[in-house]
């Protein structure tokens, strides 16, 4: 079978570097998923890379790129019934092949020599045992240490990963810890047996940016101190430039580009890498159309895309000239929110109510054709604000004036008329479309309910026009939501909100669940629609870069309160409040000069 190697290498880029002491070598990894009913799906094709000792290698790619499958193959965790690794593939760990190990042999390696951290700490920890017990269990199994000693070592580990009061926290249950602390516990578990290689699969994706920053620092410190090698899997190029020495860019199961991080960022060779680097909204791209993957993949080298060589001075000029945007001048706003307050009633015990103030005193104005950005971390109350505006949550106090009419104190019947004019797009396109409705039904239902158009034929015609507007083919009409990808579903959700020709659209984390390249397409679409239809957006997101790219004015929320409010560019350039400053500093930024 070795002869196949020579045949196959022709398609793969050369391995990253020739460092003699490689801890792990992956050669021509090819994985097929077989199912009874369908043709086999090739998840990973001819992937090769090496992980040198005490270095960090990043696997970068969007969903479906095969990065997680590669990691699972290294850990021997692929489902054996339907995942098939090609015979010519090789994974060598310390000179030893990992592909044909028996179960007992794996147990000596997994956990103790190679450890893994998963994306979501909530689901990786067992909720019915204390974290100390779960840590001690690792030590008992792999290190064969007794109960008391295991527990004291568990305490030391918790201390090492920066958990405050480890002697107390060792007895805490997972739900008593915050998301960041849970991820620290997961890291402690991975470290328990002093592995030589740590595989981190999107370890910070489920966390807020400020917590992400702390976890990344912790991982970098630990890698240094424990002299481990790390395989860091992520979709976020900013993070890669901060932690990794080498990067492997993957797309659709193949390696597009591999090399030292510095050269990948300063002189990317592959159009896909270039596209990934340029489709994120950032300061330099304010007011410009985002380039999508398609733009890059179809672009000829040295074509009209050279203008992407952004000049920093260009952007700073935009910062300084406060163009005196119309929103400050105009008095009558389309939508005005005054002192909005939302309290969730939670019954504590008999004597004391344990109420939770989700939103406290939020006020802002939204002008026609403008965008107000609402940014904050999870639990900041930003989504609650959006839901209160549409009366999907009942606000406790405050006013929402739409053309001077208070939406919150009118009757349900009176408000029904306004539902046409205010619409919302939700975060998760997988949850916001009824799985039992066809796309045609989804799009025509709002018109049916509001008596727009006449009869099935007319609704169908209008639905087709909507699909066209959001860049979807007419054939989508008769199909069900599950047949579409995340980006396409979000387009359908946007089309549904547009079916009533609204004036205000609330975008609640509307692009957060999407891959960066798809995100760019949807952001472009939203900008185009705003221009064509004169829409006003309330853009809610945790992602500062995206909000800033979209918004004219910005509200920064923390724990239910607006901590800073004003012109988006001004806040980004000169944040006044300490929380805004922390938030801005926590955003991972590409560290190397970009050569895109």
């Amino acid at each position: 079978m070795k002869t196949l190697n020579s045949m196959a290498t022709r398609r793969t880029p050369p391995p990253i570097a020739h460092i003699s002491d490689n801890l792990l070598e992956v050669k021509n990894l090819t994985v097929d998923f077989i199912s009874a009913s369908k043709a086999p799906v090739r998840a990973v094709e001819e992937v090769s890379f090496v992980i040198p000792r005490e270095r960090t290698v990043a696997l970068v790619g969007e969903s479906g790129s095969g990065k997680s499958v590669s990691a699972l193959a290294i850990m021997g965790l692929l489902p054996s019934q339907n995942a098939k690794v090609a015979l010519h593939s090789a994974i060598e760990y310390d000179g030893r092949s990992l592909l044909n190990l028996t179960r007992p042999e794996w147990q000596l390696i997994r956990g103790s020599r190679i450890a893994m951290i998963f994306q979501d700490p909530m689901t990786s920890l067992n909720p019915v045992y204390t974290v100390g017990y779960q840590l001690a269990e690792m030590l008992r199994i792999h290190k064969r240490v007794g109960g008391q000693e295991a527990l004291s070592r568990a305490r030391d580990l918790l201390e090492e990963v920066g958990i405050p009061e480890p002697q107390k926290r060792v007895h805490a249950y997972p739900h008593e810890l915050s998301g960041g602390q849970q991820q620290r516990v997961m890291i402690a578990m991975a470290l328990a047996c002093e592995p030589e290689l740590l595989i981190a699969d999107e370890p910070t994706t489920a966390l807020d940016v400020t917590v992400q920053r702390q976890i990344m620092q912790l991982l970098a410190e630990l890698r240094e101190r424990r002299r481990m090698a790390m395989l860091f899997i992520t979709h976020d190029l900013g993070l890669v430039s901060e932690v990794a020495d080498h990067a492997v860019v993957m797309r659709k199961g193949t390696v597009r580009e591999a090399g030292p991080v510095k050269s990948i960022f300063s002189a990317p060779q592959d159009p896909y890498t270039k596209a990934l680097l340029s489709c994120r909204p950032s300061a330099e791209r304010q007011g410009k159309r985002l380039l999508t993957i398609d733009d890059w993949m179809s672009a000829q080298p040295s074509s009209g895309l050279v203008h992407q060589n952004f000049d920093k001075s260009d952007a700073s000029a935009a910062f300084n000239t406060d163009q005196g945007s119309p929103m400050h001048a105009s008095e009558h706003a389309l939508l005005e929110v005054q002192n909005l307050r939302k309290v969730f009633k939670r019954s504590g015990n008999w004597f004391k109510r344990d109420d939770f103030v989700a939103v406290e005193d939020v006020s802002f104005k939204l002008q026609r054709g403008q965008t107000v950005g609402l940014v904050g971390e999870s639990g900041s109350g930003k989504t609650t604000v959006g839901l209160c505006l549409l009366r999907l949550h009942e606000a406790t106090a405050g006013k929402v004036l739409f053309e001077g009419q208070n939406l919150l104190d009118m009757s349900t019947q009176a408000f029904a008329k306004y539902k046409r004019r205010l619409q919302i797009v939700f975060q998760n396109p997988y949850a916001s479309l009824n799985p039992r409705f066809t796309v045609g039904e989804i799009l025509s239902e709002p018109m049916q309910l509001h008596g727009i158009g006449a009869g099935n034929a007319d609704w169908e015609k209008r639905s087709l026009a909507l699909l066209d507007k959001v860049g979807m083919p007419a054939s989508a009409l008769k199909r069900y939501p599950f047949e579409f990808s995340g980006g396409q579903r979000q387009r359908i959700a946007i089309a549904r909100s547009l079916s009533l020709s609204p004036e205000v659209v609330i975008l609640d984390e509307a692009v957060s669940a999407l891959d960066v390249s798809v995100q760019a397409q949807v952001l472009n679409l939203l900008k185009d629609l705003q221009k064509d239809l004169g829409l006003s957006y309330l853009f809610i997101s945790h992602d500062l870069e995206v909000v800033r790219y979209m918004s004219d004015t910005l509200l920064v929320m923390n724990k239910g309160q607006v901590v800073e409010q004003g012109d988006a560019l001004r806040i980004y350039a000169q944040p006044q409040h300490s929380y805004t400053q922390t938030l801005l500093a926590a955003v991972p930024k590409v560290q190397h000069a970009m050569g895109v």
């Binding site: 539902k419 998760n428 069900y480 549904r496």
Partner: protein, 252 residues
């Protein structure tokens, strides 16, 4: 109306006590006869009429009752939910048989329809609990919120948006309830509330089979059980394929 009525009548006329086991099997009947010499095969076929009617009608009544109550209480919550929960607890805390007897005593009528009503009004609790849970879960889903945002009414959201998404629960409950209703009819018939003594159902056959077994006649029990299992299997297959047919994700 009844395609086998004439046959049934002639078979009834031919009844004479055979007394011993040898006679019962020696007849030319494919499944033998019972203690009294009646053809077990035609009894089973005639019994299907009552049993399937009771099973399906009672299960339908119980599922509809449970689903609607569960949907309403899960969707509205608050006082509506409290009241339905009290009702549920009352029905659920009384032992099943006792409740059936109590309602039978209150109704004070006999016959197939009475059995259907009794089983329908006592059997809804399980479905209610499941549906309430599903509605509690689904009412905060984004697609339901989205339906609210486009102006769909409460009823529309409950029954047009959510119901198809939880229909699998109803179908499974329905097929399970049908089985338990057929079995419950046995008890009612045995206690004299159900099918009249001269009527035939799989339930009465099972009751008779108890006595028959003592004299070694086991085929009546076999026939009734066989008929029940074939029917139940067929019903499960039907509800399973109905579930698949209603699910857009399954490629037809």
């Amino acid at each position: 109306m009844d395609p086998i009525a004439a046959q049934w009548e002639s078979a009834q006329k031919a009844v004479k006590p055979s007394g011993d086991k040898v006679n019962a099997l020696a007849t030319s009947l494919p499944m033998g006869s019972d203690k009294w010499g009646r053809d077990v095969l035609s009894k089973t076929i005639k019994g299907a009429e009552t049993s399937i009617l009771v099973g399906l009608a009672a299960a339908l009544m119980a599922t509809v009752l449970g689903s609607v109550l569960g949907a309403v209480s899960g969707w509205y919550g608050g006082i509506v939910d409290d009241l339905s929960n009290w009702l549920y607890n009352v029905f659920h805390s009384i032992p099943g048989i006792l409740l059936i007897l109590a309602i039978a005593a209150v109704l004070n009528t006999k016959g197939t329809m009475a059995v259907v009503i009794i089983l329908g009004t006592t059997g809804w609790t399980g479905t209610y609990r499941l549906m309430r849970g599903e509605y509690l879960k689904h009412r905060h889903r984004d697609y339901v919120r989205a339906a609210d945002a486009i102006g769909a009414s409460n009823n529309r959201r409950m029954f047009v948006h959510i119901l198809p998404n939880v229909s699998h629960v109803i179908l499974v409950q329905f097929s399970l309830l049908t089985v338990s209703c057929i079995k419950a009819e046995v008890i009612l018939s045995f206690l004299g509330f159900g099918v009249p003594v001269d009527g035939v159902s799989w339930g009465t056959m099972l009751t008779e089979a108890q006595n028959d077994l003592l004299v070694g006649i086991w085929w009546q029990l076999l026939a009734a059980t066989l008929a029940m299992s074939i029917f139940v299997t067929a019903l499960s297959l039907l509800t399973d394929s109905l579930r698949d047919a209603l699910d857009p994700k399954v490629i037809h």
